[in-house]
């Protein structure tokens, strides 16, 4: 099991942060979606703008919609995206 998590970005979030995917080491103390989002927003600039707490974002862990309190573990695939608009 890798200690890394794969993070995907979609739609307006992808455009704002300028990438569609990355792999990072899960920092100590980052064990939930909310904590990971705050960690990424802490990069500042476009990251803060795209992932700041007041923005209505959705997230998934291992391809299932997940709440901010959901656990994130090494090896997980996490995704951040705006509310969906299909159909």
């Amino acid at each position: 099991m890798t200690a890394r998590v794969r993070i995907l970005y979609f739609a307006s979030v992808r455009e704002k942060v300028g990438r569609d995917a990355e792999e990072i080491e899960l920092p100590d103390g980052v064990g939930t979606l909310a904590a990971l989002r705050a960690h990424l927003a802490g990069r500042g600039g476009a990251w803060a703008e795209a992932l700041a707490g007041e923005r209505a974002l959705r997230a998934a862990v291992n391809q299932e919609m997940a709440a901010p309190t959901a656990a994130v573990r090494p090896g997980d695939e996490v995704a951040f995206f705006p509310p969906v608009t299909g159909g």
């Binding site: 979609f10 998934a60 391809q63 969906v84 299909g86």
Partner: protein, 155 residues
């Protein structure tokens, strides 16, 4: 159950005919969503649909399974297009085959309402003023939530 996410167009008539081959099917209800040429006061020249490959199919599959728990569903086809689409183009097909119309109508509307709020698709419109991401509508959340209300009442 047939779930497809594809760039190509689809033939609603052929899909409905295929669902009707089961002799126990007495009703097929279907919904076809199309690209409109106007949204929020702007002319829409084209639209691009992005999705989350892998999760999209799983999310739609989970919605269809939930529909099967609630109603008698003998067959179901969901096709959602991605990529660039023009006004008048078909975006989505939901077709449900049941023994009787009530189950087919209800399951079809349920799947569509849940797809709108749970399946990871995003629309970007090209208008005369430039490109813009379509904003999620609160009315779609309300439409999906009323099925939870209905389930609670049914107990």
């Amino acid at each position: 159950m047939k779930i497809l996410v594809q760039r190509e167009d689809f033939d609603p008539g052929a899909e409905i005919t295929a669902l009707a081959r089961d002799a126990a099917v007495g009703a097929v209800a279907s919904f076809v969503g199309l690209v409109r040429d106007e949204n929020d006061g702007a002319h829409v020249g084209a639209m691009t649909l992005e999705h989350y490959p892998g999760m999209t199919e799983k999310a739609i599959g989970a919605i269809v399974e939930e529909a099967k728990r609630r109603w008698e569903v003998r067959g179901c086809t969901v096709i959602h297009r991605v990529g660039q689409l023009k006004p008048g183009d078909r975006i989505v097909l939901v077709a449900v085959a049941s023994g009787h119309r009530h189950d087919a109508f209800a399951a079809c509307e349920f799947i569509m309402d849940y797809l709108k709020t749970r399946a990871p698709f995003w629309k970007k419109e090209q208008t005369a003023e430039g490109e813009r991401w379509v904003e999620a509508r609160a009315s779609d959340d309300v439409a999906a939530a009323r099925w939870q209300e209905a389930a609670r009442k049914a107990g």
